[in-house]
């Protein structure tokens, strides 16, 4: 915990302690001409030049809106997608060096837990069959008795009883299904769990049970977590480090205390401002809203991709004497619309924000 956050720029030098190292990974879709089709499909930059590393036993959170590319990034780490550029290294092994068979064997180390346990378990298999499949695939615990033994041990670990093994997913409640999905993920003793919105499909009163279960398992099994969510309260509760994603890139990443406690990128600031509101809105005052919605990844804005919605750019443009240009989305500083921003490290180096104005203290406070 609280491991110093390594800088994303510069060559990623894998350290012994890092389980996941993502080095300048990009994933683009489309761009190829299909058979019987005259024009090439447009290129979608789902993940663009993303770097981070996750030390063993810690939890890294990816936060973003739908369309930000966070799910594609998770699938790059699991190896379900191959990066168009860059490299993903799991436990010291670069995924690009593996053939399909090696990749499948590697998957034992990285397991995925999906959002909706109703959909993520095969409806035609009992919980026992589902759990056994993992063992069969990786040829672990051969023999009927040994397998039953292992299944029972794992089922107890996630708080289910052997009576649940003979049931089908639809015969379980939402919480029990998610426990079964977690059991399937840990039965092969993985190093990493990738948790894609692990509690958002569950009832509120059950969410806390699953969050606690995940924390217990992380401590007991020394697991490394990569959690994908839009719930900043969950991030602050579970994660050690966090990357805030917008249109395929990290706009801010670093220690959770730093990023969530003192956000430096205007997008993170907007997200935190909404999450922090637990007081009733004042009916007589305009509320803070982030205008517009996330642009299509087919047409990523030039310069800083956030400039079309950025409240900071609007405020800076209102200052006299600044170099301002007019865009379709209003007046913004020229740099925002034309130059791609570089990551700026925070004092102390525990987080970076990819904003032209992150280095300089904010000229206007945001209230």
């Amino acid at each position: 915990m609280n491991a110093p956050f390594p800088m994303p720029q510069g060559g990623a030098i894998p350290q012994d302690d890092d389980v996941i190292v993502v080095d300048a990974a990009s994933r683009h879709f489309g761009g190829r001409r299909r058979l019987f089709s005259a024009v090439a499909a447009p290129v979608v930059r789902a993940v663009d030049h993303v770097s981070f590393r996750v030390p063993r036993g810690t939890c890294f959170a990816i936060v973003g809106e739908s369309g930000s590319g966070k799910s594609s990034l998770a699938r790059l780490v699991v190896g379900l997608l191959r990066p168009t550029a860059g490299e993903v290294t799991i436990d010291g092994v670069a995924l690009s060096t593996l053939d399909p068979v090696g990749l499948r064997a590697m998957r034992r180390k990285v397991q995925l837990v999906l959002q909706d346990p109703r959909a993520s378990l095969d409806p035609r298999m009992t919980i026992f069959d589902t759990l056994c499949e993992a063992l069969t695939v990786h040829r672990l615990h051969p023999g009927r008795e040994a397998r039953l033994e292992r299944v029972k041990a794992v089922i107890a670990l996630v708080g289910l009883s052997p009576a649940h093994l003979g049931r089908y997913p639809h015969e379980l409640s939402g919480g029990q299904r998610q426990r079964a999905a977690i059991a399937r993920a840990i039965i092969c003793e993985p190093e990493v769990l990738v948790l894609d919105e692990p509690v958002s499909a569950l009832d509120v009163s059950v969410q806390a049970q699953i969050i606690n279960l995940l924390a217990d398992l992380q401590a007991k099994l020394a697991l490394t977590y990569l959690i994908i969510t839009h719930d900043l309260a969950l991030v602050e509760h579970m994660a050690d480090t966090v990357g805030v994603m917008y249109l395929g890139r990290f706009v801010e990443q670093g220690d959770v205390e730093q990023v969530c406690g003192a956000p430096r990128h205007p997008y993170t600031q907007s997200l935190m401002a909404i999450a922090a509101q637990i007081e009733p809105l004042n009916r007589d005052q305009p509320a803070t809203v982030l205008e517009g919605s996330i642009p299509s990844p087919l047409a990523i804005p030039s310069g800083c991709s956030f400039h079309t919605r950025c409240p900071l750019a609007r405020r800076l443009a209102a200052v006299d004497g600044a170099d301002i240009i007019q865009t379709a989305d209003g007046r913004v500083p020229r740099r925002c619309a034309e130059d791609v921003p570089l990551p700026h490290a925070a004092p102390g180096g525990r987080s970076t924000a990819t904003c032209h104005f992150a280095a300089s203290p904010l000229p206007v406070s945001h209230d």
Partner: protein, 653 residues
């Protein structure tokens, strides 16, 4: 462990506490336990026996012609009569069973074995493989079946084997297309991704996950094609290319009997009967097998008995507590509302005595988990509850001073139009994709009004402007798919506001949206409320959203409002143990980092399987198994300026 005490989560009877993997005879046992399984299996076995022993059982020579006895009626000597050449029809049916079933089963199997792998391959590989396979199949489909079959037979020569191939080839496109379509939809399921990420090989994913899940569909298709395969085989026979005369085959017999259908109808009856029953037999068996391999369909549905139907008519005797009069001036006033779902087991109470008022210009948030009855309550207030599914068994609902219960359909529509606007969770599905936004808004504006076209259009533009959509004139002519999720929800709100409703009902209006868009929509709703003075009923599961947005809050658990009052009062200090636990179990941000969350034991109760006494008792921290909690459903009382339903609410003050 606390999670064990789930309530009625399993429709299956409780199995032994310890788990025993299933034996290999399970399938047969389950097959025989269903009526359709036993009938189907018996018939199929009989047909197989017929195919094997038919020729041996034939009482007469099926090939011997007897021109003295042509076209005889059924008699003791010829059970099914004789045909135009005086041959015994019964014997011919027995002898023809083998060829017929051989062609039917063989043709379908041939098509299945080639078509299904092609379809699955196309869906799995996508790209050029799919393009080539599907175009080839489209070309095949563009030829008439019989021409295709004729071509195959012409190339390979006429024999029973080649007829099987010919009629099989005809069915390949159907199998391939269907297999591709269902495989694509299965591949999109998260459990496929789950199993790939587990490290399963492509072969394993297809054999263990894709094929079982598409088998039901393919099984039904096979039984349908069985009959049509026999018919096209008989068509070939008719053209002299199928089973060669004098060898009997049911389809050919049926074809030959066509000439005599008026004068000698029995000639067609018997082969037709055997054909139809064979298709039925495979159909029943396929259906039964599908039920076995699809565990989700195995809920043994009890047929609704006549007595049950009678019983449904009568509502259960509701406690006739004196209801308070509705509040004067309230936009919505609900008193003593009880609602129940019709089900196999009778009526299941889902709303169990709800009183609430919403004053104009205020927002009431109803908070609850799945199954708490919150959405049913909202639908009842919106006069949208389907009386076939759910019945109001007691209580009153008044919208703007008018009763919303017991109205004729016409009056109900009128009330709904004038007073109620509704916004549902999923904006994407609330708009019709083939109509422009303008058409849908126009429909909402025009209903019950006498505005001319120009005025209607102006009103639509104003509405879009009201919900902060820029450039409304141009946007009117766009289709829903051209808008983002947040924009669509704004359009849905504009439609809901078209008739200036007194009350706006919003069922989880933002839970499908991103955080930043959520905030935009909430701020918009609040602005609309301020301008128009309407009442809002917001149904949600998110307490933080309630704190930011609502004036009043009502927490719903198992069909009752367990705690309700002003947001500031209730959330400042919650009194009901459920509300307290909900507040405490949410991750609290930075302060709680790394600490364990407080949890609520167990899971929300299922409708119709509530514990005795207080519905929250099994999960309650405060109850400590005190006898009062078992004895009675706690009354709703006024404690510390809010309504609360807990016997020991004062302990939290």
């Amino acid at each position: 462990m606390s999670v064990m005490n789930t309530v009625a989560s399993s429709p299956a009877p409780d199995r032994a506490l310890d788990f025993v993997p299933k034996s290999r005879w399970t399938v047969l046992r389950r097959l025989v336990s269903q009526p359709k399984g036993i009938v189907g299996l018996t018939l199929v076995v009989l047909y197989l026996l017929l195919a094997i022993f038919g020729p041996a059982l034939a009482p007469q020579d099926a090939f011997r012609q007897n021109f003295a006895q042509t076209l005889q009626r059924p008699s003791a000597a010829h059970w099914f009569g004789t045909d135009q050449l005086g041959r015994d029809v019964f014997s011919r049916i027995l002898v023809g069973a083998r060829a017929t079933l051989g062609i039917g089963v063989g043709g379908v199997s041939f098509a299945f074995l080639i078509g299904v792998p092609l379809g699955v391959l196309a869906a799995w590989r996508r790209g050029w493989v799919e393009a080539v396979v599907m175009r080839a199949i489209d070309v095949m489909l563009s030829f008439p079946d019989i021409v295709f079959a004729l071509a195959v037979v012409a190339i390979l020569g006429a024999s029973t084997q080649n007829v099987i191939i010919a009629v099989g080839v005809v069915s390949i496109p159907v199998f391939a297309r269907t297999a591709r379509a269902v495989t694509l939809s299965i591949l999109a399921e998260p459990y496929i991704e789950g199993s790939i990420s587990l490290g399963a090989s492509p072969a394993r994913v297809i054999l263990r996950h894709v094929l079982p899940n598409i088998s039901g569909m393919l099984m039904t298709l096979s039984t349908l094609l069985f009959a049509s395969t026999l018919l096209s085989a008989s068509g070939l026979g008719f053209l002299g290319l199928g089973t060669q005369p004098p060898h009997p085959e049911w389809g050919t017999m049926l074809g030959e009997s066509r000439s005599y259908i008026r004068s000698h109808p029995y000639l067609a009856t018997f082969p037709g009967l055997f054909l139809a029953v064979s298709a039925l037999a495979f159909n029943l068996l396929g259906d039964a097998l599908r039920t076995i391999y699809d565990p989700t369909s195995r809920r043994t549905a009890r047929p609704a008995r006549f007595l049950d139907l009678l019983r449904r008519k009568r509502a259960p005797a509701a406690p006739t507590a004196a209801l308070l009069p509705p509040s004067p001036g309230a936009a919505v006033s609900v008193r003593g509302l009880r609602m129940a779902y019709h089900s196999q087991e009778g009526l299941l109470e889902v709303v169990r005595g709800v009183d609430l008022d919403i004053m104009p210009g205020r927002t009431l948030a109803v908070v609850g988990e799945s199954g708490s009855g919150k959405s049913t309550l909202l639908r009842a207030i919106g006069t949208l509850a389907n009386p076939q599914e759910v019945a109001v068994t007691a209580g009153t609902i008044e919208i703007g001073g008018e009763s919303a219960l017991g109205l004729a359909p016409e009056a109900l529509r009128d009330l709904r139009r004038r007073k109620i606007g509704i916004v549902f969770q999923d904006a994407a599905n609330a708009l019709n994709p083939v109509l422009t936004v303008g058409q849908q808004l126009t429909e909402a504006v025009q209903t019950g009004s006498s505005l001319d076209a120009a005025a209607v259009r102006q009103r639509c533009i104003d509405l879009l402007g009201d919900v902060n959509i820029s450039d409304p004139e141009r946007r009117l002519d766009m289709y829903p798919h051209q808008f983002s999720g947040g924009m669509k929800q704004r359009i849905v709100i504009a439609i809901a506001l078209a008739q200036d409703p007194d009350v706006l009902l919003a069922d989880e209006p933002t839970s499908a949206l991103d955080v930043t868009i959520q905030q935009q929509i909430l701020v918009l709703l609040r602005e609309m409320q301020r301008k128009r003075g309407m009442a809002i009923l917001l149904v949600t599961h998110d307490l933080n959203l309630v704190a930011r947005f609502a004036d009043d809050v009502a927490v719903m658990y198992a069909g009752r409002l367990v705690e309700s009052g002003h947001v500031a009062t209730v959330l400042a200090r919650t009194l009901h143990p459920y509300t307290q636990a909900l507040r405490a179990s949410a991750p609290g941000g930075a302060e709680g980092r790394g600490k364990r969350l407080l949890t609520i034991a167990g899971e929300p109760p299922m409708i119709g399987a509530l514990p005795s006494g207080c519905a929250f008792r099994p999960r309650c921290q405060r109850s400590q198994n005190r006898s009062q909690c078992f004895a009675e459903e706690p009354a709703i009382r006024l404690v510390a300026s809010r309504q609360v339903a807990c016997c020991f609410a004062e302990e939290a003050c």
